[in-house]
Symmetry: C2
Subunit: 410 residues, 2 copies
């Protein structure tokens, strides 16, 4: 039996424990929804208010150059790059994830003009599937989008596949895919590979360089804690820069934006994929949130993440044997930084947990999804969360009809 004092001991020897004080968390609440929206950290408010009260209020329009606003999509991209194993000049921060996917998929389809199939995962986040289907119409030739079972990739690949787009950590189940072997399989078939890192960045180590990834994109508001609707990022491997075209171009991606030329000529490098200026306030918030990575590494975070999810799974199985199906893989190399529990009453269970201060979320049709962020969660948090889950299950409070009314937003 794992005791609370065992968990206290683990917290006591946890090198990352001091980072918790960087974040604003509600007393008594256990926040297991950082995979939906990360909490606010100290430097966020500092940086945003610096923009408002100093750069904007005093510098005004001059701050586009003097305060580095114009360069911010690339400078913050460079700061984020190590988290995915990219070079500093391979990442930009702007827009939202759906727009980033639109740009990269649209651009990639022009790089394989003789191939007319895009493969994506039927279990992918639905917004990926919607935008890929739509961008396929932009190609100027008939493109077929196939939503496949990702486990059948080998059979689905053929000489007509232009691009494969997968999400690296499944948003619902928490399964992490093997980026290296899948990317290689796709390349061996002559196709391009794009990864969605929404549930990967800041949660698991990524090595786009070593895995020879062509394109990737991810969001800033989950494990990067950049705030609600934070800018997304995109990665374009250096060899594709100045080759891939931005299908949603704007003046800031022009080689000479202030020459006001009628004809579009793309800027060099990642700048070509900046369309127009993202919110500088939003960029400043993400920039502040990224500061935490100067105090730790993704390797340290990963070690603790696995310890936390191991502990959670062990406690659930010990305390509630047979009650839930743990659908997130046990195997470390297949696990992201969340645990998904299957139960027919998951919707009501999640509502009851939230009422008891364990913030997590429900994913259709029967998944209770719990995210574990080592930057601000400890082992006692995991223990206490399971305590409250045990209470919910043993009391059957989830049968209360008020927990079963579904809101549109969960």
């Amino acid at each position: 039996m794992i005791s609370r004092s065992d968990c206290e001991a683990m917290d006591a020897s946890d090198k990352l424990a001091p980072l918790r004080s960087e974040f604003s968390l509600n007393p008594g609440e256990i926040y297991l929804d950082g995979n939906s929206l990360g909490p606010v950290s100290k430097n966020v408010g500092v940086r945003v208010n610096e923009v408002i009260n100093d750069q904007w209020a005093k510098g005004l329009v001059r701050s586009w150059s003097a305060a580095g606003w114009m360069a911010a999509p690339l400078t913050i991209g460079a700061k984020l790059a190590p988290l995915i194993g990219a070079k500093a000049n391979e990442v930009l921060v702007a827009d939202t994830l759906t727009f980033a996917i639109a740009k990269l998929v649209g651009g990639a389809l022009r790089l394989r003009p003789d191939r007319n199939i895009v493969l994506t995962d039927v279990a992918n986040f639905h917004s990926d599937i919607y935008i890929i289907n739509e961008v396929a119409k932009w190609a100027g030739r008939p493109i077929e989008v196939r939503t496949i079972n990702r486990n059948n990739l080998a059979q689905e690949l053929n000489e007509n596949v232009a691009l494969v787009e997968f999400t690296q950590v499944d948003y619902r189940m928490g399964e992490m895919l093997d980026m290296k072997s899948i990317t290689k399989m796709v390349h061996d078939a002559g196709a391009l590979m794009m990864w969605d890192f929404a549930h990967s960045t800041g949660a698991v180590p990524l090595d786009v360089e070593g895995c020879d990834v062509d394109f990737a994109a991810g969001c800033g508001y989950k494990y990067l804690n950049g705030g609600p609707g934070a800018p997304a990022f995109m990665y374009i491997r250096e060899k594709w820069q100045n080759v891939i075209e931005n299908p949603i171009p704007g003046w800031l991606g022009h080689a000479r934006p202030f020459d006001f030329e009628l004809g579009y000529e793309a800027a060099l490098g990642m700048q070509a994929f900046v369309t127009s200026s993202p919110s500088i306030l939003a960029l400043a918030a993400l920039d502040g949130a990224l500061d935490i990575w100067s105090k730790t590494t993704i390797a340290e975070v990963r070690t603790k993440s696995l310890a936390l999810t191991d502990l959670f799974i062990a406690l659930v199985e010990e305390r509630l044997p047979g009650v839930f199906e743990v659908v997130t893989p046990r195997e470390h190399k297949k696990r992201g930084s969340q645990v998904a529990l299957r139960h027919v009453e998951s919707y009501a269970i999640v509502q009851a947990l939230i009422e008891r201060g364990v913030i997590c979320d429900f994913r259709d049709p029967d998944i209770c999804r719990l995210g574990f962020t080592p930057l601000y969660l400890g082992f006692v948090d995991v223990y206490d969360a399971v305590e409250r889950l045990v209470d919910v299950m043993n009391s059957k409070v989830y049968d209360d009809p008020r927990f079963k009314v579904r809101n549109s937003i969960t």
Copy 2:
């Protein structure tokens, strides 16, 4: 001769003068660049910090519903709607202006499948032209984009024109187009009309309802003072809602975003054009900036704007006769809220003015552009700006080589 005390008298009787105290402006500086980036007003910081310290820090993921984040693109759109003469349900705020144009042009081309020409203005802001040319490729049929002289619109319209996209106030010259007669001319030819309001919203009265405008978009960071890279807005006339399709769809535009359906079904109304969540910090800043409109009306602002630009033109002609060509129209109904002066040394003149605390900008090839925002500028500001311009011109300080070095950002 107009004297400084004449201007002081005008300020003394100016009903809008008290609004200046809502804004943060540098002492001694005259800010004539609000048509590039508006200054910060009091409620911006209040609102943004409320999001950071309360809604985000304490409400966390729950704030998507509890704090109205999910609804923000439409609720802030409704707040902005009166400024363009739209109904509350016809405007949304999100993304950037270039994305808004992409969505509306892409959608409009599907509404006229038997027509294959888009007309836009050769003097349009270049980003409009870049994105229209690119979106034309998305249509699935050959589309010709013609960049015309806007004065030749009547001759260019024919039964093959699907859409006309014009900017209502010319960003360089400050000429305001007659929205009603142009929209009618376009409709009489069976085409659709889209207006770019980048230099119109908050600067001049707009009546999309009375002018029967189909689509419009504008930006939040100029005369709306929403901050650097503030979200853009888009307008879709009610009759086109649920008819026009969003060519860059995302999960938040789905009828049931949390049902995670594989197939895309558009939400009703403007929600269908929300792709994914814009930054809530950026939306909060714009929301705070829009509060000023509860204290005045666009009609009052327009009256003062014309008085300010009239005064500026009169002073320039009186004090510097024959030195500049005033390229902005004298006729009120053709003038936006800026004055453009032509001079072969405009680049250096602008740099010298900035050094003397008159913030304005240069537009290629020879335009000195000065924006007049009645919310925070008075008549003495105009007088003093001209004094400094007179000094620059009479001293010929603009001949100093250091003013002639062109930066990439001006």
